[in-house]
Symmetry: C2
Subunit: 227 residues, 2 copies
């Protein structure tokens, strides 16, 4: 896959800004979960600051892409690159929103005694952070195999989420005083699960971009149904 | 706002397909909630069939838009229209995914006795269905006031969701046997809330399209912070 020479500079700029966005989004997830584990609300402010940067980057990337579309009449491959970039920046922005949602849950959780040692939630967070990083890397490197590997991790995420859900359900049923905290933890795990979903959206876009094949609603070769 | 004459036909086609998508998405929400209220799982199949139609429409719209961008060199306003349409079809597709998620919760709920008379959840569903319809209407008619009215409904949705959450929490705490059902209802209400969020994303795109002003991350005039 080659790009039109005269667009090189602008497309590199888009790549750099997307990398920045993904790095910030990843850091936001990390800090949000760290604030839960260390019961440290001082991290919220950093997460909020990062979110503002992510929002600005989304607008900047969209502006560059609109200008390219309007002024440079990009050809087939560049065109698909540009429309993909405009989709991917939205996914990254939604991921950063979800990190904010997590801090909102954490703010409630750390006002109360810790319900249980956190093992599965940080594991889930690590997995989805890696999905964010790898999905964006697969875009930058146009690496379809890496993109496919992101898609296959979806099941692992779902299983881990179900496990977290069942464990918290047991807590709630055996001791109703745990219900508000357990519910918040269920919601935190759902936010993480959705971050995984956004990463698979990015990976699907990469496959579309490279192969010109829209797999978003098709049956994958391994039989996995992608919605 | 005018469109380039030679794109009229294609842009009308995009509009028609978006309208179809929005109609299907609305119907899916309606049927998903109807299956809860009437404990009727025969509706699931219809919702699944609708989802497949929505997925196909998304691909068709993206194809038309890509072809327009590649072959017709659309000017400023048309260009923004086309990139907006490509964002909006993604939002509608996500809404249809959420309707599927709701039926998955309903499938579990209707296997057990009904926890309580459902009043707030159908109300919430009606509100978000109207948000879907109005956000798409605001796009078709390029009606900024209608788009703004969608944005203002977000707070109402959040309040109703909080109320549902608190009521279900009371159920869970006073009778732990209600926990699994109450949890499913919490998740159903969260899915509806997210459908509202996707509608506000559509409305924000309309304002951007018409005013050329990106309000996605700015403070609105009434002081409402939009994330």
């Amino acid at each position: 896959m080659t790009v039109q020479r005269h667009l090189d500079k602008e497309l590199r700029q888009v790549n750099e800004k997307l990398l920045l966005m993904a790095g910030l989004a990843e850091a936001m997830i990390h800090k949000a979960i760290k604030s839960l584990l260390e019961r440290d609300e001082s991290l919220f402010e950093q997460v909020n600051t990062d979110e503002k940067k992510v929002n600005l980057l989304e607008i900047e990337i969209d502006d560059i892409c609109h200008k390219l579309l309007a002024l440079k009449q990009p050809m087939a491959t560049d065109l698909r690159f540009i429309t993909s970039a405009m989709r991917i920046d939205t996914e990254l922005e939604r991921i950063s929103d979800l990190a904010i949602n997590i801090t909102e849950g954490v703010a409630r959780l750390i006002k109360q005694p810790q319900l249980k040692p956190y093992i599965d939630i940080p594991r889930l967070a690590d997995l989805v952070q890696k999905m964010v990083r790898d999905s964006l890397d697969s875009f930058i490197k146009l690496n379809v195999n890496l993109a496919r590997s992101v898609l296959t991790r979806d099941d692992q995420i779902d299983d881990l989420c179900d496990q977290i859900f069942r464990e918290l359900l047991t807590f709630m049923i055996s001791d109703p005083s745990t219900i508000p905290r357990a519910l918040q933890l269920v919601l935190v795990s759902r936010h993480l699960e959705r971050i995984g979903d956004h990463s698979t959206n990015i990976a699907e876009n990469v496959i579309y971009l490279v192969q010109g094949k829209d797999i978003r609603h098709h049956i994958e070769e391994n039989g996995t149904r992608r919605r």
